[in-house]
């Protein structure tokens, strides 16, 4: 038995010593909790960083499963960028399992991009779980608002500069170039959706409120009875009636949600259910931040026409 233990220890130690460690010196290894932040971190970090996301765009970020493969990514990370506001609270379990002191809460390598974000849907009354999966700190899906990208990228820039101050000029130039491009796109998107200002929408889950508010649209109802709680038949009937009464044209649904139900409901109510890019990579063609927002604007403008 003792021989087996010694052999296993020697094997692991040897493998650890032989493991490739050189790339760490070349690039800053950044891990993000959600793919939106990966795209934004790549935009700011440029060639200096190597970015990986713990989740994919097709997933529901509230309920990501903590896998050891997450811990492997975090073990090697120099920086962890999290969304915050309880969207990705599960990351703490993965960080503890990763044994990486550089990215624990409070460490210089931990970036929470919710800092400085004017949050929407902050409950003004006492919350409990009878209200469903409410977020006591506010709606955490702010990354879908392109107008908040300057604040998010500023947090990312601050974090990257903290760890690699020698690259400050490059990071700032990258961010500036990205925001200049985004500025042009935002003007175009605003123009595209301007004719539909004030249009009412139904959403399946309140993921899109920041996007809706940014472009002057109105969230009239949610298909879910309460956030995260599947709708009851009575609630579905109420929503159908509301869609008909208020002549609402569109239901927005996430690719991970009950798309079939959304389509059936839309059919009954005479509306159109469209699968929105709830994150970068959530739908085909939404491979980066600008592409994801562009997809949403184009699809919505088409549906509202």
């Amino acid at each position: 038995m003792r021989r087996i233990i010694v052999f296993v220890i020697a094997l692991v130690a040897g493998a650890a010593l032989l493991a490739p460690g050189a790339p760490a010196a070349e690039k800053i290894r950044v891990v993000t909790t959600i793919p939106d932040l990966k795209s934004l971190a790549e935009a700011v970090g440029g060639d200096v960083v190597e970015v990986d996301s713990l989740t994919r765009g097709t997933q529901n970020f509230h309920e990501a499963e903590v896998r050891p493969s997450m811990m492997l990514k975090l073990r090697r990370a120099d920086i962890l960028i999290e969304n915050g506001v309880d969207l990705d609270a599960w990351v703490d379990v993965a960080v503890v399992g990763a044994n990486n002191g550089k990215i624990i809460r409070g460490a210089p390598g931990r970036i929470d991009v919710s800092r400085g974000i004017p949050l929407l849907e902050v409950p003004s009354v006492r919350v409990d779980r009878s209200m469903g999966d409410v977020h006591p700190l506010g709606n955490p899906h702010f990354s879908l608002d392109p107008g908040l990208a300057p604040t998010i990228t500023q947090s990312i820039l601050d974090g990257l500069v903290r760890l690699a101050p020698e690259h400050r000029a490059a990071f700032e130039a990258n961010r500036q170039a990205f925001l200049t491009r985004l500025d042009g796109e935002l003007a175009r998107w605003t123009q595209m959706l301007a004719p539909f200002k004030g249009a009412k929408l139904v959403v399946f889950h309140p993921d899109f409120i920041y996007f809706i508010v940014r472009f002057g649209l109105v969230q009239a109802a949610t298909v879910e009875d309460k956030p995260g709680i599947p709708p009851s038949p009575q609630h579905v009937v109420r929503v159908i009636r509301q869609i008909k009464d208020e002549k609402i044209k569109v239901i927005l649904v996430e690719p991970w949600n009950d798309v079939k139900l959304a389509r059936r409901l839309a059919e009954d109510a005479g509306a159109k259910a469209i699968v929105f890019a709830s994150a970068v990579g959530a739908v085909k063609g939404a491979d980066n931040y600008i592409a994801a927002i562009d997809f949403n604007v184009r699809t919505l403008a088409e549906a509202l026409r």
């Binding site: 038995m1 233990i5 692991v12 130690a13 493998a15 650890a16 493991a19 994919r56 097709t58 997933q59 529901n60 309920e63 499963e65 903590v66 896998r67 050891p68 493969s69 811990m71 492997l72 073990r75 090697r76 703490d92 379990v93 993965a94 503890v96 399992g97 044994n99 990486n100 002191g101 624990i104 809460r105 409070g106 210089p108 800092r115 400085g116 004017p118 949050l119 929407l120 849907e121 902050v122 003004s124 999966d133 107008g147 990208a149 300057p150 500023q154 947090s155 601050d158 500036q176 925001l179 985004l182 500025d183 935002l186 605003t190 940014r214 472009f215 002057g216 599947p230 690719p255 991970w256």
Partner: protein, 464 residues
């Protein structure tokens, strides 16, 4: 008559005053004007403030008259403007050896907290079980929940407190209450209390305190988190109903490899009297575990592990348990839950026992017993709220001759992530009747379990 010096002084003073009087009058006039000007300014400022306060009060009145709003007012659409947000707080630096030696002020943050803020998370989990068995099994107390057959009882009500102690450590305390015998007061006990040092060098982490040992898949799970109502018979036979819960410390290491590997070594008292029982750190229970994980595409994941626990029994004989485990999950892309989970563990026990002789002059002989047991389960969850599965387990008794197998199909309904109901049926078949404290138990046994579990407040996310 010569004037006295005093009269001269007074006359001089009067003369001087009369000369300076016009200048003083001019100064006083200037001061008066200045004061008048300041008074006017003050009055204007006061009027301005009063107007502002009135406007704010009016706004507040209007806002209070409105129904409570959930959302903050929408931000107007505006082009992207590059602007720096509020200045960043200075980042906490990584602790150096000197930092760790320096005196800390753990209560500084506590002193600065707002009302009602605990600075840690708190949750309560409740787990209630009803166990139905035949009268013969109840009489001999040979059911899965010995002594609580044909009863509805709180198996585990758990208060869970967890959070960061400071930038370098986390702590978790779990206090449990549960029924251990019918018609008796609930037993309250410390289930776990441990501190984890997070900033150890070379990718290591140290956990100190009372822990549910990381041995295999299920030992570290609390009762309400188990995939079935009860622990598999093999774990109950090898470690007892509670599983392996020990006091000591364990060091984990995640080496910088291209694949995930977690190595763990622990030193504990060895208080578990089913498997060990020596209870002395001088002859400690030593545990070790290796765990690895493979992503099988975007939808599958396979975890493999090997565990070891070796220590001394109460009569100072060596007891060693080795286990291997595997868990596979298939989660179709975009699903909120796995469709299929398959998992299992196999355990080997090697234990030296003393065979006492009837003759007091004969020295007790020693014998080494090799025992084996395993379990496996498969669970299907085609709908978010419904899951069903079956578990099979087979085990030899660690000390006595004989073996048993059991099969347990079950169905789980989860109205939400914090509420769960489960029904299960378990058939146990023993190679010989089992002798319990209450008598000779039947060779076969059929049980029905009903279980209800809930979680109030915070609950840490579960790993794979």
């Amino acid at each position: 008559m010569r004037p006295s010096p005093r009269v001269g002084f007074v006359a001089g003073l009067v003369l001087a005053m009369s000369c300076t009087a016009p200048a003083a009058a001019q100064d006083a006039e200037a001061l008066r004007r200045e004061l008048e000007q300041m008074r006017k300014q003050m009055q204007e400022t006061q009027a301005q403030y009063e107007r502002s306060i009135e406007a704010l009060s009016e706004r507040l009145r209007k806002l209070e008259a409105q129904p409570p709003a959930v959302a903050t007012p929408p931000a107007p659409a505006a082009p992207v403007v590059v602007q720096a947000p509020a200045p960043a707080e200075p980042p906490p630096s990584a602790p150096s050896a000197m930092d760790l030696l320096r005196r800390r002020e753990p209560f500084a943050l506590y002193g600065a907290r707002g009302p009602g803020q605990f600075l840690f998370d708190m949750g309560v989990a409740g787990d209630f079980v009803a166990n139905f068995v035949k009268r013969s099994a109840e009489r001999t107390e040979s059911g899965t929940f010995a002594g609580r057959e044909n009863r509805f009882f709180p198996r585990e009500i758990e208060l869970n407190l967890f959070g960061q102690v400071d930038p370098y450590a986390r702590a978790e305390v779990r206090i449990e209450a549960g029924e251990e015998a019918p018609r008796e007061e609930l037993t309250v006990r410390l289930a776990e209390a441990h501190l984890t040092l997070l900033t150890m060098p070379w990718g290591t982490q140290l956990k100190l305190g009372q822990v549910r040992n990381r041995f295999g898949l299920l030992n570290q799970l609390h009762e309400h988190d188990l995939p079935q109502t009860d622990r598999p018979n093999v774990l109950r036979a090898f470690f007892g109903e509670e599983g392996l819960v020990e006091k000591g410390g364990e060091l984990t290491w995640v080496p910088p490899l291209p694949f995930y590997l977690e190595a763990l070594v622990g030193v504990f008292n060895g208080d578990n009297d089913v498997a060990f029982g020596n209870g002395r750190i001088r002859n400690p229970l030593v545990t070790a575990r290796l765990r690895t994980f493979f992503e099988l595409g975007d939808t599958g994941g396979l975890q493999l592990g090997a565990s070891l626990a070796t220590g001394l029994t109460a009569d100072e004989h060596r007891s060693t348990i080795v286990g291997v485990d595997a868990k596979y999950k298939y989660r179709p892309d975009g699903w909120l839950h796995p469709l299929l989970t398959v998992a299992g563990e196999a355990l080997w026990s090697r234990r030296t026992v003393a065979i006492a002789s009837d003759d007091p002059d004969v020295v007790a002989a020693e014998q080494t017993r090799h025992r084996f047991g395993w379990y496996a389960y498969a669970e299907l969850q085609p709908f978010r709220r419904w899951a069903g599965g079956v578990r099979y387990d087979w085990t030899e008794y660690p000390l006595d001759p004989g073996r048993e197998w059991a099969v347990e199909p079950y169905l789980t309904f989860m109205p939400s992530d914090f509420l769960r109901f489960r029904i299960g049926y378990k058939h146990t078949d023993r190679s010989r009747p089992l002798l319990t404290d209450a008598g000779l138990a039947p060779r076969t046994m059929d049980e029905v379990f009903l279980q209800g579990s809930f979680i109030l407040g915070a609950h840490p996310a579960h790993p794979f």
